[in-house]
Amino acid sequence: MLLIECPWCGPRDEQEFGYGGEAHIARPAKSAALDDAAWADYLFHRTNPKGLHFERWWHARGCRRWFNVARDTVSHEILAVYRIGEARPDIADGDR
């Protein structure tokens, strides 16, 4: 059971959070201009890495804020927690 550090509320049990998938996928500004393949890439295709993953969570049963987490998808170790809008921390796979 993960212990996730909400950037505001501090560490809380996984059950208080909702998972939001891969982070840093911006909605294309001019969606109409994209072809079907580019739109599918935004809509469905995911990196789904084994190892370091930048992902979004939200404190659904707490302060209801969204934030980003850098987590290892094998060890489940959480390497960084940062707010939406903050730069992706400079972590490389294997930095631990």
């Binding site: 059971m1 996984e14 599918a40 809509l43 295709h45 995911r46 789904n48 084994k50 094998v74 060890s75």
Partner: protein, 420 residues
């Protein structure tokens, strides 16, 4: 090349008993990889081994290797709750799973390996008006697709499975169900082993402890793979690695519409027979059957986050149990003996991808989510066809990688919410 090996039967068992079982041969060889194969199948689970088997048997391809990074059947094949059924909603799914179910029905004989396919029926419960409507829709679609399915009312549920609590006082009372009597369970390991033995006998090289670490692609065409046991050239490479599909895709420079999630399951201690069918409930999130050893085999939905660890979190198990207590209050004093997790590759429409890929000679079979085991024979069968002919079998022509661009999805969330 083919390998001569004695058939399994009660006679061979008796004959070997006379020699204290000291003369049994290996079920499959452990060859070293050759420098080149016509087809390399990445992934030695049920689907990969079945693919190799049908490639060799039905398409005359002989120079095949199956590369497995661990041990055969060590992924989801050996970690699922072994439920087999074909009562899917969409035509494209139903026909594929029904094809698979038909293959299951003769599989022990086909493989000369008892996979213990036990057609004890699979019952899907309805707990509210919405469930009833969905089950009615699915069943009626099944009828017109020629798939056996029955609608039961509460009394029928009780008759079919007497230990279910159908009290209207229950929080989510049982209002009805569907049952597919041809559905059931099988012995998961045996499926991998049976296909491995069968494929090996036709000369397929099954290579365990051989992890693919890279793909060789030249001018848009696959030419081989890098492995922990060296580079191996190949005419075609077919990837069927369940939870790790994205990892292999990345080696080919591709991203898939796939997320990998933990899926947990558990068994109880063995008890004397009490449950003679498979009971599934998607709205209270549990499915349960009793194995031939007497263990109750149970599972639920996936953990919410992506993961490549074969373990999940406790709350999922707590939820399964709470749901189970509602349906089977008599189970309360039984004990969970073992639990485990697998990594499932979930796709946006809860349907698999069995497809050629943008790299020539590269094929992927993935995205089965929580329900791949039941499809093992059918998946291998149509995938072998896709590889051999370089075009899909009629049954998987809609299961393309490209459907996520066109939007022609095969939406099965309703049927597959806890699809096992």
């Amino acid at each position: 090349m083919s390998v001569k090996r004695g058939a399994y039967s009660i006679w061979s068992l008796m004959r070997n008993a006379l020699s204290y079982h000291e003369n049994w041969q290996r079920a499959w060889r452990s060859p070293d990889p050759k420098p080149r194969y016509d087809v390399i199948i990445v992934g030695g689970g049920g689907h990969g081994l079945a693919t190799a088997y049908y490639l060799a048997k039905e398409h005359g391809v002989r120079n095949i290797a199956v590369l497995e990074k661990g041990w055969l059947g060590g992924g989801n094949t050996g970690r699922n709750t072994t439920i087999i059924r074909s009562n899917y909603l969409q035509d494209a799914s139903a026909s594929l799973y029904e094809h698979s179910l038909k293959l299951w029905e003769g599989l022990s004989q086909e493989l000369n390996f008892n996979v213990m396919f036990s057609q004890r029926g699979v019952m899907n419960l309805a707990h509210n008006e919405h469930d009833l409507r969905e089950l009615s829709r699915r069943t009626r679609a099944n009828w017109l697709n020629g798939i056996d399915s029955e609608l039961l009312d509460t009394t029928g549920v009780k008759r079919f499975c007497p230990i279910i609590n159908v009290s209207p006082e229950s929080r989510y009372p049982v209002l009805g169900a569907t049952v597919q009597r041809r559905g059931g369970t099988a012995r998961h390991d045996a499926v991998a082993w049976g296909y491995a033995r069968g494929a090996d006998a036709m000369g397929v090289d099954i290579i365990q402890q051989c992890e693919v670490t890279g793909m060789r692609i030249e001018k848009g065409r696959i030419t081989g793979v890098e492995t922990t046991r060296g580079a191996i050239a190949a005419g075609k490479v077919a990837v069927v690695v369940a939870g790790h599909a994205s990892v292999l895709a990345a080696m080919a420079g591709l991203r898939l519409p796939i997320e990998s999630h933990p899926l947990q399951a558990l068994v109880s201690e063995p008890i004397k027979p009490i449950l003679d069918t498979v009971v599934m409930s998607s709205s209270v999130h549990v499915y349960v059957s009793q194995s031939d050893k007497g263990e109750l085999v149970m599972g639920a939905g996936i953990d919410g986050y992506t993961s490549y660890a074969q373990r999940g979190s406790l709350p999922i198990i707590e939820e399964i149990m709470a749901s189970t207590m509602e349906l089977f209050p008599m189970f309360s004093r039984l004990k969970m003996m073992r639990k485990w997790g697998g990594i499932v590759d979930t796709s946006p429409d809860a349907s698999p991808i069995i497809s050629k890929m943008p790299v020539e000679g590269l094929y992927f079979n993935c995205g089965w989510g929580t329900g791949g085991f039941k499809a093992t024979p059918g998946s291998g069968h149509v995938f072998a066809h896709t590889i051999a002919r370089d075009r899909p079998h009629p049954l998987n022509q809609r299961h393309t990688f490209e459907r996520f661009q066109s939007g022609e999805l095969i939406e099965e969330h309703g049927a597959a919410a806890v699809a096992h």
